[in-house]
């Protein structure tokens, strides 16, 4: 059951919490888990997972993060977010492979259902058109738009996306420009001015 002091150091950075966790502060891990749970849930929902699947995959991601303790796999000198999202992305790819779905294809239908359920509108044309255009992008550009906090729908900076995709930051700038060019053309063709 939850202990009285189940969380520590809400003011601490993730990296500091991971240091504390690796030094055997289990409460530090509970703080990380509660801090990232919602964002991981949203991440898997963006990738078209049902609420139940998204919850379970968010849990699996945190369990795998916990299991990095034994071999100290997270280098506390490096940014935390890309490390965590790399675990999440691997988890999602496993799921995609299990369903024999191309791991880089964004499944649009569940996201439509998600938005419709929220807005209670019969159809959300903008979201539908945007996701159709995203689906037409090459996989690296899809990943960029889904992850970028500035130009896309995600929560990561360019440097963090570079870490996640195993590319150099200048390559991400290039991917960003190409993705946005393609999206502009695609949305213009659909009548957006």
């Amino acid at each position: 059951m939850v202990e009285d002091s189940e969380t520590v150091g809400d003011e601490l950075e993730d990296q500091e919490l991971m240091v504390a966790f690796y030094e055997c502060s289990e409460a530090a891990f509970e703080t990380i888990a509660s801090r990232w749970w919602g964002r991981l849930f949203s991440y898997f929902r963006y990738y078209g997972e049902s609420p139940t699947n998204a919850e379970e995959m968010a849990q699996d991601t945190l369990v795998r993060l916990y299991q990095t303790k034994e071999k100290r796999q997270y280098d506390v000198q490096r940014p935390f977010k890309p490390f965590l999202y790399a675990i999440a992305q691997n988890r999602w790819r496993e799921e995609a492979r299990k369903r024999a779905r191309c791991p880089n294809t964004v499944p649009l239908e569940p996201i439509h259902e998600l938005i419709q359920a929220k807005t209670n509108e019969p159809s959300d044309k903008l979201a539908e058109d945007l996701f159709t255009c995203i689906r037409n992008l090459p996989s690296s550009q899809q990943a960029y738009i889904l992850h970028c906090e500035k130009h896309g729908l995600g929560q990561l900076s360019h440097n963090e996306i570079a870490e996640l995709l195993g590319k150099w930051p200048p390559q991400i700038t290039q991917i960003s420009q190409r993705a946005r060019d393609s999206l502009r053309k695609c949305l213009s063709a659909k009548g957006y001015q």
Partner: protein, 296 residues
């Protein structure tokens, strides 16, 4: 359309997505913490009645324990064996202590206790010398070179370097070991587990029961750059093999085309023996038998 307009459109969609919260927070006051769920996965006897009752009606807690159960890496058979035999290296000993004492893994503790009580037939090559340098192979004599040899009780083994081929041969004259599984592992001087695998002992000439494994020369030279190491050979009790060993068993059975019938016979008998057992190997035995029975 310019960049600003595109960003406006994307931010509208993002706002709708962000407004969708998780169905519920990760846990409430009665839910298991990550730490507790891991402890329960490692030692199911720690479950309290209250926790059981809660988990029965809470998918989230049930899934959390299951997820830890899947992700926890258990000790390999070889580390447990070396520990039981008193030849574990310092880092292996630390791994055993951390997993059994600090984590409290009941499953591996039981395996260790069982191993200590029933030490299997075991051959230990304390030092396997470096292989012949590939550059000098052409000048080397044509006859096979026995790199290492060990015998203990009824079991003998030789590591043979035959120019292009490197093989491990294991033999016995004890009929009780007919169709017995034998495991082998090579640990480089630097401590790296370079390869491991399984073979079956089957009847050969002059009353011998033998099994051979072809080894990859490159793997044997080691990635650590330090030649040599120790070779372990053991006749394991099947119930002591863990989840880590099951893919190796499957690979060994699939690889041995000439011994297909022997593997099928072994897998079928072992599957019957463990038909009602919850041990990890039971499902693997059934799967191996099913694959070998199929016409292809």
């Amino acid at each position: 359309m310019d960049d600003a307009r595109l960003e406006t459109l994307i931010s509208q969609v993002r706002a709708r997505l962000e407004a969708i919260p998780p169905a519920q927070p990760l846990w409430d006051q009665s839910c298991l913490t990550f730490v507790r769920a891991r402890a329960l996965a490692l030692d199911p006897e720690q479950w309290t009645a209250g926790e059981r009752q809660h988990a029965n009606s809470c998918n989230r807690c049930r899934h959390l324990v299951e997820s830890f159960h899947r992700e926890i890496g258990h000790l390999s058979y070889w580390i447990l064996l070396r520990d039981a035999r008193g030849v574990a290296r310092e880092w292996e000993q630390q791994q055993v202590d951390a997993h059994l004492e600090m984590d409290g893994c009941r499953y591996c503790r039981r395996r260790k206790e069982a191993l200590a009580q029933r030490l299997s037939l075991w051959l230990h090559f304390p030092h396997v010398p470096a292989l012949r340098d590939p550059a000098t192979l052409l000048a080397a004599p044509a006859e096979p070179l026995v790199l290492a040899r060990a015998e203990h009780a009824d079991l003998e083994a030789e590591l043979i370097d035959d120019r292009d081929d490197l093989s491990l041969e294991i033999r016995t004259k004890n009929p009780a070991l007919d169709h017995k599984l034998v495991g082998y592992a090579f640990i480089a001087t630097g401590g790296e587990l370079v390869f491991e695998g399984f073979l079956l002992l089957v009847p050969d000439v002059e009353g011998w029961y033998t099994g051979q494994a072809a080894l990859e020369r490159a793997a044997f030279l080691g990635r650590s750059g330090r030649p040599g190491g120790t070779l372990e050979v053991s006749v394991p009790e099947l119930e002591l093999l863990g989840e880590r060993e099951t893919p190796l068993l499957r690979a060994a059975a699939a690889r041995d085309e000439t011994g297909r019938q022997a593997w099928l016979s072994w897998a079928e008998r072992a599957a019957v023996r463990f038909a009602d057992s919850p041990i990890p190997i039971a499902a693997t035995l059934r799967a191996i038998a099913a694959v070998l029975r199929s016409p292809d």
